[in-house]
């Protein structure tokens, strides 16, 4: 994939990030840059700190050391809602769905920042609120269609199968019109057909100029769509490179086939 680099500043820049929990160094000296239009993947054995890294970048944890920049602007330790306004959104490995809402409502929440009505207009149900609700719903339906869930729009989210919920989260994150999108295992629990759809979806999102950062265990998918890959092992960066470079690197093979190989193999079988 040819990354379209429009400016010098990376969409997302992570610089020497580390974090400790109760004296244990969970992440140490992680740096990478993700550019608009590229799919940047982070892989590594279980417990390597991939989700922790996502939690730092998306503002849920404050790093003990290091910096995070979005489009060249300092963004370390900003609250998630502020980061969303800077154009960063994400999905979750352990689903974070609004289970008491319908599928389309879940995505409508993702349009929150684009909604223009004020509190008192909402309270009085002014005509503008009705218009806003219809516009939000239309936008949400279009996104559901994009992830292939259009016919489930008015189902309660709690009734959707796992694979559909994964895609629902992607639609919700896309609803914020992000410039940086963090996807945490989007293909987990998906069958081959669904994985193929997610592959195309991620591809299309990146084509639209979004910097996609991907954590994924499906190696076939990662190798196929990533422009570059960062390998994390026990909280430390091991290698950064193109899929071909990473695949050929003996240290990566050792890290995977060594102590943690079996768990990864088990995952691949699933």
């Amino acid at each position: 994939m040819t990354a379209t680099r429009t400016s010098n500043a990376a969409a997302l820049e992570v610089d020497g990030v580390g974090i400790s929990f109760g004296g244990i160094r969970a992440l140490d000296g992680v740096s990478f840059r993700a550019h608009p239009g590229e799919v940047f993947s982070i892989i590594g054995p279980n417990g390597a700190g991939k989700t922790t890294l996502f939690n730092i970048v998306s503002g849920l944890y404050r790093p003990t050391s290091g910096r995070v920049r979005i489009a060249g602007q300092e963004a370390t330790g900003l609250a998630p809602a502020r980061l969303a306004r800077r154009g960063l959104s994400r999905t979750f490995q352990n689903l974070q769905i609004f289970f008491r809402m319908t599928a389309v409502e879940n995505v409508m929440v993702g349009r929150h920042m684009a909604e223009k009505t004020g509190f008192f207009a909402d309270l009085l149900a002014l005509p503008s609120v009705g218009r806003q609700n219809r516009a939000t719903r239309a936008a949400a339906l279009a996104l559901l269609d994009r992830v292939g869930l259009a016919d489930l729009a008015d189902q309660p989210a709690g009734a959707l199968p796992y694979g559909a919920l994964k895609r629902l989260e992607i639609a919700r994150a896309l609803a914020t019109e992000p410039k940086v999108l963090l996807l945490d295992e989007p293909a987990a629990g998906c069958n081959a057909v669904e994985t193929e759809e997610i592959d195309q979806l991620i591809h299309a999102v990146a084509e639209g100029g979004v910097a996609v950062v991907l954590v994924e265990h499906d190696m076939k998918l990662v190798m196929k769509i990533s422009s570059r890959i960062l390998v994390l092992v026990q909280g430390k960066p091991l290698v950064v490179g193109t899929p071909a470079e990473v695949r050929a690197d003996p240290r990566v093979i050792e890290a995977y086939l060594g102590s943690h190989g079996e768990t990864e193999a088990a995952r691949a079988d699933r």
Binding site: L60, R100, H112, T117, A121
Partner: protein, 324 residues
């Protein structure tokens, strides 16, 4: 999955559940005086409407945003004592006093809420409890202003020389206030703000990564709930003609939380059913005399065990189940 689609076909949007709720409440308020045999029933119903107003407000905070407050009664106290203290000590007529009380309640909620809503779950509950207790303590202790533990009388409202009095008059005043409160609550629920609040309830972290400012929204819901409570408190004081610190007590706050949950969190009609049960039932149970508290406690347990989602959502669920 087909049945869920059948119960809410998108094509039948003209009768949204929202509209059904509002029409239901309006019809109930309008019809009851026709069937009530005496003023006593009107008075009990007026109490249910005022409590209901406070519960509808608390439901916005608890049912919609998922934040529990054990200090809701304190805001009732602010509204109630405003209409008592304003005319008595400051020479401000009742209605401006009520409005000032409601504004003060909103201001207090905003100031208190800012630091409190950094807390979560039970810690939030105990902080709101502490705030409520402090306010009740002030009302009990500053006798020169509040009459102390015995409370104080409230001047009757006079509008253009007309003394607002009589069971039926107050029935309509409280009933209309309730309908307005319900309508506004339903509006909010269906709006972008309401959607964001409901999202917070299910997953604060997911709401925040799509740009929902959780702290600000919770504070908004807290202030709105306080305004409902203060309005309810002012109406209650004006209707009864007296106030006591019990209005603002911890037990009263616990009662409001119970009303919300027993009726069904997140359901506006449920909030009213909860208020009706905890206000009207004790009146009916007075025939049991000393058994009243025990029976009420027993009923609360039974309702919660068998309809754990609350009465209204629970019954709707049962009804759907039966039709299947």
């Amino acid at each position: 999955m087909t049945d869920a689609a059948a119960t809410s076909p998108p094509s039948r949007r003209t009768w949204s559940p929202r509209l059904v709720s509002l029409v239901f409440v309006t019809v109930v308020v309008a019809v009851l005086p026709l069937v009530f045999p005496s003023n006593y029933y009107l008075r009990v119903a007026s109490l249910v409407w005022t409590s209901g107003l406070a519960v509808v407000g608390l439901n916005l905070l608890m049912g919609l945003a998922g934040q529990v407050s054990l200090g809701h009664a304190a805001f009732l106290g602010i509204g109630a004592y405003a209409v008592a203290i304003g005319p008595t000590h400051l020479g401000v007529p009742p209605i401006p006093s009520a409005l000032a009380g409601i504004a003060l309640s909103a201001l207090v909620a905003w100031i208190v809420g800012k630091p409190i809503f950094r807390l979560k779950g039970y810690y939030l509950a105990v902080a709101t409890l502490g705030f409520g207790l402090l306010l009740a303590l002030v009302l009990t202790s500053e006798s020169a202003w509040t009459g102390g533990p015995d409370g104080m009388p409230v001047e009757r409202v006079e509008l253009f020389g007309w003394r607002v009095t009589g069971a039926l008059t107050w029935y309509w005043i409280t009933g209309v206030a309730l309908i307005i409160g319900v309508a506004l609550a339903l509006n909010l629920e269906a709006s972008p703000t309401g959607r964001a609040l409901r999202a917070l309830h299910d997953s604060e972290v997911a709401a925040s990564v799509v740009g929902v400012d959780a702290a600000r929204l919770k504070l908004t819901a807290f202030v709105v709930a306080a305004v409902y409570a203060a309005t309810s408190g002012a109406l209650l004081a004006l209707m009864n003609g007296f106030v006591t610190p019990d209005t603002a007590s911890f037990m009263h706050s616990v009662e409001f939380v119970t009303m919300v949950v027993i009726g069904g969190m997140g359901s506006v009609v449920g909030a009213l059913v909860g208020a009706a049960i905890l206000v009207a039932l004790p009146q009916a149970l007075t025939v049991l005399q000393e058994y009243e508290t025990a029976v009420l406690g027993l009923l609360i347990m039974v309702f919660m065990i068998f309809l754990r989602q609350g009465i209204v959502p629970g019954l709707i669920g049962l009804f759907r189940g039966m039709r299947r």
